[in-house]
């Protein structure tokens, strides 16, 4: 990566940290502010009022959102929404939605799987059926990120010819149901989306521009890496907060950070953060540059950074002592978010299983490990 890019990223990081930091951890963020900052349309084409940037820039914002434990629809609208729209065939309807999303005028949410923990394309959560009165949508998807507040739902469905497509519907449309699924992490919003014979006008069916399975796999990898970015950011926030606290909290007449038990625990946190950063950066670059081994890099980043974040936030709670266990202390916001991130878009065990499925496969073999190569 050129140093120009690094500079742009540093600038973006500084701006994001400042803006998101002002909101305070666990707070909601004004969507208009995100639109004005240009963060919604980073990956949208310039012709549609986007910035023609890549996932690498989105990743900077995601990491800072994790650091600030911000409440926003960025995962649903940008990581999944813009990500999906960019992979669809160009039509006036698709262009308009992408433009509106980049401008913050419409906030989409995307349902790719039946649950929120799939890591490889499985059965599409919805299906389009022919009926005497035209096409009808059926199905259900749980834990759809940011669905409760979305103004548009992009639902992955199997069309009557068994091809995966995206159905673009209004949440208020007849036959579409949307229920909030409250979770312990108050900074995240999920919805259960159902379709029970909803009408599917021809214009609402959007087709993938390439191989649908490859596109879905890419979107799931994007989601996994986005969550890993978030976990990396929140890990850094917890390390910073713990180091600051250990430097000022005194017991036995000296700062607790001067005790090796505390000092060594902080050192271990930094080691984990450092490894996370490398793995997350590799996965981000692979996604941004269309790398060949994106699945591998994504699984490594997701499994390591999200497991490490739980350890790190847990250690932060421990080293903050009683204050760390209070609601007011705020560490719990991070621990809950870290625990949720760990389960979202594939547990560490599921991602490690995907990595391990490559072992022992002879080079040049036609055997394709689950979820790794195009089918």
């Amino acid at each position: 990566m050129s140093s120009d890019f690094a500079e742009v990223h540093d600038e973006l990081r500084v701006v994001a940290r400042d803006l998101l930091g002002k909101a305070g951890s666990g707070a909601g963020i004004n969507w208009r502010l995100l639109a004005e900052s240009g963060w919604l349309g980073l990956e949208a084409p310039a012709a549609l009022d986007g910035a023609d940037a890549t996932f690498a820039e989105v990743a900077v914002v995601l990491e800072e959102m994790g650091r600030a434990a911000v409440r926003s629809s960025y995962l649903g609208a940008v990581v999944l929404g813009v990500g999906t729209l960019n992979l669809l065939e160009r039509t006036p309807g698709r262009d308009e939605l992408l433009r509106d999303t980049a401008a913050g005028a419409v906030v989409p949410a995307v349902a790719l799987a039946r649950g929120g923990d799939d890591i490889a394309p499985g059965e599409a959560p919805f299906r389009i059926e022919r009926s005497p009165r035209g096409l009808r949508l059926h199905g259900e998807a749980a834990f759809v990120p940011d669905a409760p507040d979305a103004g548009r739902l992009l639902l992955l469905a199997r069309d009557p010819g068994d091809t995966p497509v995206i159905v673009d519907v209004e949440p208020q449309a007849g036959g579409i149901g949307r229920t909030v699924q409250p979770v312990l992490d108050a900074t995240r919003r999920f919805g259960l989306v159902t379709a029970d014979g909803a009408e599917v006008p021809e214009a609402s069916v959007r087709r993938f521009a390439g191989d649908p399975q490859a596109c879905i796999r890419r979107l799931l990898d994007r989601a996994a890496v986005a969550v890993a970015c978030d976990s990396l950011g929140l890990s850094e926030a917890m390390l910073d907060a713990t180091v600051a606290y250990a430097g000022v909290r005194k017991q036995f007449g000296r700062p607790i950070g001067s005790f090796q038990a505390v000092k060594h625990a902080c050192a271990d946190m930094l080691v984990q953060v450092s490894v996370s950063r490398q793995l997350v950066s590799a996965a981000v670059q692979s996604l941004a540059g269309d790398g060949a081994d994106t699945c591998v890099a994504a699984s490594m980043a997701k499994s390591y950074a999200c497991a490490a974040a739980v350890d790190i936030a847990g250690k932060a709670m421990q080293l903050h002592g009683g204050i760390g266990y209070t609601w007011e202390g705020g560490v719990h916001v991070y621990l809950k978010r870290a625990a949720l991130n760990r389960s979202l878009f594939g547990s560490p065990a599921a991602h490690r299983k995907r990595l391990a499925s490559r072992y022992g496969v002879p080079p040049g073999s036609t055997v394709s490990p689950a979820g790794l190569t195009a089918r």
Partner: protein, 406 residues
């Protein structure tokens, strides 16, 4: 055939006792109490706890660890049977009476006067609730640096200061209080131990919301609170020594119950969670990695249970080592945390939608993520894991002490 772990090698009288307890549990553990105690109000919690305590007391199961003459007298082996059956039947835990039957009783038995014992031990059996007033904002791990003062004034002491992490203070009738009586002495030699009637004027109790969303911890502000000199436990300025004497003793007894609970409720639920088909239809249990983890936990729980039993037996025999209680507390709290962590991981996103757990339940309630977060209530209070490791290294192994500033 080699018998399984020693605690399972039950002589016939224990077998009979187990059958008795089992039958009692079937008849007396309230049906559907978990649903009723989920989202229960403070009043509902208190009345439920008091009723359950009274029920256990009628059966002779409320204070099995007390000496026989005060209403207890069970051996460690019998207590393990009692606690394992209660856990196996998902009985409620004695959350409200916890400090009364453990900390308060241990203190009175070890250092109280006859009058104090006669006044309080029967009252505890009748439902008297206690709270511990030890920690302060600036005296957590370094408890001996506490600054709440008790000034001698005739036949009484006048106490002023602030206490923190007083669990259940809003429901308590009495408080175990540490306060400084000699500010000129070295810090461990100027502390006294008091029994404080919570109805005394000048006490202000404010609940603190915890990471789990519950609020059983409290701040206690003490403003010119008058305590009669007869409520001093042990000699003046010997409070630190009294606390040290009784803390370890009480810890062993609580660990016995909690270990059985973890083994017979926590581990069982973890196995059940892993046997439930996931979103894809497969059971986590059929994954050999999951099965392996469960077997590791089962082994660790077996070790913990044996360790807890040995601690109680050595304590009863007067042969407990100076770090024995710390070893059990450290191992229990971190094992609890790891098991709840694993439960959260296996149960996946669905576990995050469990927003409340039943009050009156154990540290493991089946709401995995909440229980995981709640497990820090074991690794932080009562001496953090870091402090326990220092105690084990210094008092248990005789390693040189860490340099400590003053």
């Amino acid at each position: 055939v080699t018998p399984s772990p020693p605690q399972n090698a039950a002589p016939s009288d224990l077998g009979e006792f187990r059958a008795t307890v089992r039958e009692w549990c079937r008849a007396h553990v309230p049906a559907e109490w978990r649903q009723a105690q989920t989202g229960a109000s403070d009043e509902e919690f208190v009345s439920f706890q008091k009723a359950w305590f009274a029920e256990l007391r009628r059966a002779g199961f409320a204070v099995p660890h007390w000496p026989k003459e005060w209403g207890g007298g069970m051996s460690a082996a019998e207590q393990m049977v009692l606690y394992s059956e209660l856990a196996a039947h998902d009985a409620p835990r004695l959350v409200l009476a916890f400090v009364a039957i453990h900390h308060a009783a241990a203190t009175l038995l070890a250092a109280g006067t006859d009058e104090q014992r006669l006044r309080h031990l029967p009252a505890i059996l009748d439902g008297e609730i206690w709270v511990q007033g030890f920690s302060e904002p600036e005296a957590g791990s370094d408890l001996a640096s506490l600054t709440t003062t008790a000034r001698k004034d005739g036949d009484a002491y006048v106490v002023t200061g602030q206490k923190l992490w007083a669990s259940g203070a809003m429901h308590a009738d009495w408080c175990l209080l540490l306060a400084r009586t000699d500010s000129g002495a070295p810090k461990r030699r100027g502390i006294s131990y008091f029994l404080l009637d919570m109805r005394t004027p000048g006490i202000d109790v404010r609940p603190i919301r915890q990471a789990t969303g519950e609020s059983h911890f409290c701040e206690m502000f003490l403003n010119d609170v008058v305590i009669p000199a007869t409520q001093l436990v042990g000699p003046e300025n010997a409070g630190w020594q009294v606390a040290q004497q009784t803390l370890g003793a009480e810890r062993g007894m609580t660990m016995l119950e909690l270990s059985e609970r973890l083994g017979h409720a926590g581990f069982r639920w973890l196995v059940e969670a892993c046997a439930r088909p996931g979103p894809g239809g497969a059971r986590p249990l059929d994954d050999s990695l999951v099965a392996d983890r469960l077997a590791i936990f089962e082994t660790e729980v077996a070790g913990l249970r044996a360790l807890s039993r040995r601690l109680v037996e050595r304590h009863d025999a007067g042969t407990a080592g100076p770090a024995d209680a710390s070893i059990v507390k450290l191992y229990y709290s971190e094992l609890l945390q790891r098991m709840m962590d694993y439960g959260s991981e296996v149960a996946g996103l669905a576990a995050h939608t469990e927003l409340r757990k039943p009050v009156s339940s154990g540290w493991e309630s089946g709401a995995w993520v909440l229980d995981f977060i709640g497990s820090w209530e074991w690794t932080i209070p009562g001496g953090t894991s870091e402090i326990q490791r220092t105690i084990i290294g210094e008092r248990g192994l005789g390693l040189p002490r860490e340099p400590v500033g003053r």
